[in-house]
């Protein structure tokens, strides 16, 4: 029936799409939102459901190496949660979770302690200096993350730059064992995630009205106290955003503990890898991954809550 109209074929692409959407009963605004949501559904939600499905299965020597969800070979109902029972019953997994959370928490605190003064300093510079300093913060992203971690191995190693310098200066007699210790791991994580702390903090501090600090001083408040009662409370949304951006990926971090932390560093990211690649226990690996996801969903929800709250209350 559309072909009856000769003008139909000469419509530009935009017009054709418009007609199609109208015919399907989809508003244009909905269509704009639909595209990214479709993308996320196909490449994030569906895989997550698949992993969740596998986490209820049992390992078999087959292709794929786990029992199907339904059918005669499927896992009996009373054994569905066996993987999760093992997860919470085995000290190895609990310890790995604890280690990862501890690593992420301590790294976040260090990132905050280092990042806050940096962000504050940058926000107080002249606009031209500011963009230069921000560029310096973002610059490391232009090289591969892996290369930067390897560079730290070169710095912290037994015959690395740090030990050589300390020996040459006569501060130490024998090289220090830094690489393959928790210290190296913290150095690597704090170094890698520092920009994620600085950028949201900077965005927050840069917007701050400096006349508020003048008003505080005018009312008899000393600068240090004004920082504590005015600047920090007002930058809380930035602190929370930065802390979550560091904490969440740091919990699941695999590469840095593996390369810098040495064989004794048992992190949850490494457990997933080992279960999956070494033991070929896909169901167990999936269960561990699902547990991490749940562990991180809570902070993400907190993050969104605070974001909404800060948007509700503009200055």
């Amino acid at each position: 029936m559309a072909s009856d109209n000769p003008q139909q074929t000469s419509l530009p692409l935009g017009g054709q799409i418009h007609r199609l959407l109208t015919a399907l009963g989809i508003k244009q605004r909905t269509a704009v939102i639909l595209v990214p949501y479709l993308w996320l559904t196909i490449f994030f939600v569906v895989p997550c459901i698949i992993i969740l499905k596998i986490s209820f299965a049992q390992t078999v020597i087959a292709q794929p190496p786990y029992t199907p969800m339904f059918g005669p070979d499927s896992v009996p109902h009373d054994q569905l949660f066996d993987n999760f029972k093992r997860l919470f019953g085995d000290l190895l997994y609990i310890k790995a979770y604890g280690n990862s959370l501890q690593l992420a928490a301590i790294s976040t605190v260090f990132c905050l302690l280092i990042g806050y003064p940096m962000a504050y300093g940058i926000a107080r510079c002249s606009p031209s200096t500011r963009s230069l300093l921000l560029l310096a913060i973002i610059l490391p992203f232009w090289t591969s993350f892996l290369i930067r971690v390897y560079a730290w191995m070169g710095i912290l190693g037994k015959e690395g730059v740090l030990n050589d310098t300390l020996l040459a200066l006569g501060i130490i007699d024998a090289p220090l064992q830094i690489l393959y210790t928790p210290i190296a791991m913290y150095v690597g994580i704090v170094y890698t995630y520092l920009p994620f702390m600085i950028l949201p903090l900077y965005a927050n501090l840069e917007k701050m009205d400096m006349s508020l600090l003048e008003a505080a001083a005018d009312l008899g408040c000393r600068p240090l106290k004004a920082f504590c009662v005015i600047t920090i409370p007002l930058s809380l949304p930035g602190i929370i955003a930065g802390a979550l951006l560091v904490f969440i990926p740091a919990v699941g971090e695999y590469v840095i503990p593996e390369l810098l932390g040495g064989p004794n560093s048992l992190m949850i990211g490494k457990v997933v890898y080992d279960e999956f690649a070494q033991n070929r226990d896909w169901p167990m690996a999936s269960a561990v991954a699902v547990a991490i996801l749940l562990l991180l969903v809570i902070p993400i929800m907190l993050f969104q809550y605070f974001q909404n709250k800060s948007q509700e209350a503009p200055k």
Partner: protein, 381 residues
């Protein structure tokens, strides 16, 4: 529009008393930002209980001067004394001043009550005393019922009152107000102006108000310091500034004025006679100005001090013929734009005393502009 003030001025014009000790002394203060001179060698004496207005256009240095009094900027040279104490090494948080910021600068994360209490808390005042002081000041600015709101939940006028309360609550020796009424609509402005005058009367605090609004300066202040490009060009009561401006700039900046260029023919102690081609009539002023004959002068005459008539009074001076080029009817008065025969355009205001006057002056009428001999002011610069 200087409202006649019923309030008792501090010991009636304390600034004219040679024995009076100034409360705030600004001595040869200069402030440079790089090459730019924001405040240029300013000196002023302000007395206890005064409400002193710094009036000037944007960029004239008035806010910089205020910020130096508050301690946010350091003078490049010169001294500031408050109650006899040199302020040079005293940081803002130790000065006996409080400031009401143009942007109000209310702390967004604190309630109205917490904002107002902030200054008192810094002095480690007992909690119950803070509470009663805060309640009293919030009552005064009629914001008590909003005590638990955050600033973003208030209207502009309410925020302004909170800012005023916060700067008043510590009862400072000197209160600095930066464009305090800038963001308010006309009705609220007038109400707040009288409120500020009222507070000043009751608490006896010395005020310095920065404003670009001459009407605000006129209504509020005991004295005005008119600023232009970093300097105070004239200090005086609103009446002095309006009636006896000392320069073309002040005459032009305060109110509206007609300026005629001319030169002096006669300068006697009792009168001056000025020849002005622009006016098209000799100008006779009934007081001397003591300058050299032949000197170039500008004569300033306020529009409301001029009169229009259709008949030539025929005295041969202080009367210039012209044509009506425009009439702006403003209700209580009308502004006439007259093109004089010399080509110069002047503004004349006439009050509308009668409804539909019989011999109403209309567009393109030939009229005579005249003025009394004590109305013009002769200015040498």
């Amino acid at each position: 529009m200087a409202a006649e003030r019923a309030k008792a001025e501090p010991s009636t014009q304390i600034w004219n008393d040679p024995n009076a000790v100034p409360y705030i002394r600004i001595e040869n203060v200069t402030k440079k930002f790089g090459d730019f001179v924001a405040v240029n060698n300013v000196s002023a004496n302000i007395y206890r209980g005064e409400l002193f207005a710094l009036l000037g256009g944007s960029g004239c240095g008035k806010t910089t001067l205020l910020r130096m009094l508050a301690g946010f900027e350091q003078p490049t040279s010169g001294k500031i004394y408050i109650d006899g104490v040199d302020m040079a090494d005293i940081p803002p948080y130790e000065r006996p001043t409080n400031m009401m910021f143009q942007s109000y600068a209310l702390f967004p994360h604190m309630t109205v009550e917490q904002n107002v209490a902030f200054g008192l808390k810094q002095d480690r005042m007992p909690v119950d005393q803070i509470k009663s002081r805060v309640d009293a000041i919030l009552d005064m600015v009629q914001m008590r019922q909003f005590a638990h709101r955050k600033p973003h939940q208030l209207s502009g006028g309410q925020r302004q009152r909170v800012a005023l309360a916060r700067s008043l609550v510590k009862e400072p020796k000197l209160l600095l107000l930066d464009e305090p009424l800038g963001a308010l609509d006309k009705k609220l402005r007038e109400a707040t102006q009288f409120e500020i005058m009222n507070i000043q009367d009751r608490l006896g605090i010395t005020f310095i108000v920065v404003t670009h609004d001459q009407e605000e300066a006129m209504t509020l202040s005991t004295r005005i310091g008119v600023m232009n490009s970093g300097q105070i060009v004239q200090v005086g009561t609103p009446k002095e500034i309006y009636e006896y401006p000392n320069t073309k700039f002040v005459a032009d900046f305060i109110g509206s004025v007609n300026l005629f260029e001319g030169h002096i023919i006669e300068d006697e102690p009792g009168h001056v006679l000025i020849d002005s081609a622009e006016a098209g009539t000799p100008i006779y002023i009934d007081h001397g100005i003591s300058s050299a004959p032949g000197a170039k002068v500008w004569v300033a005459i306020r529009p409301e001090k001029m009169e229009l008539s259709k008949a030539n009074e025929g005295i041969g001076r202080n009367c210039a013929p012209g044509i009506v080029k425009g009439i702006a009817y403003m209700g209580n008065m009308s502004v006439y734009l007259i093109k004089l025969d010399s080509g110069k355009e002047v503004k004349v205001t006439m009050s509308n005393q009668r409804r539909a006057a019989e011999h109403a002056i209309d567009w393109d009428d030939k009229v005579y502009v005249s003025w009394h001999a004590n109305s013009p002011v002769a200015l040498l610069s």
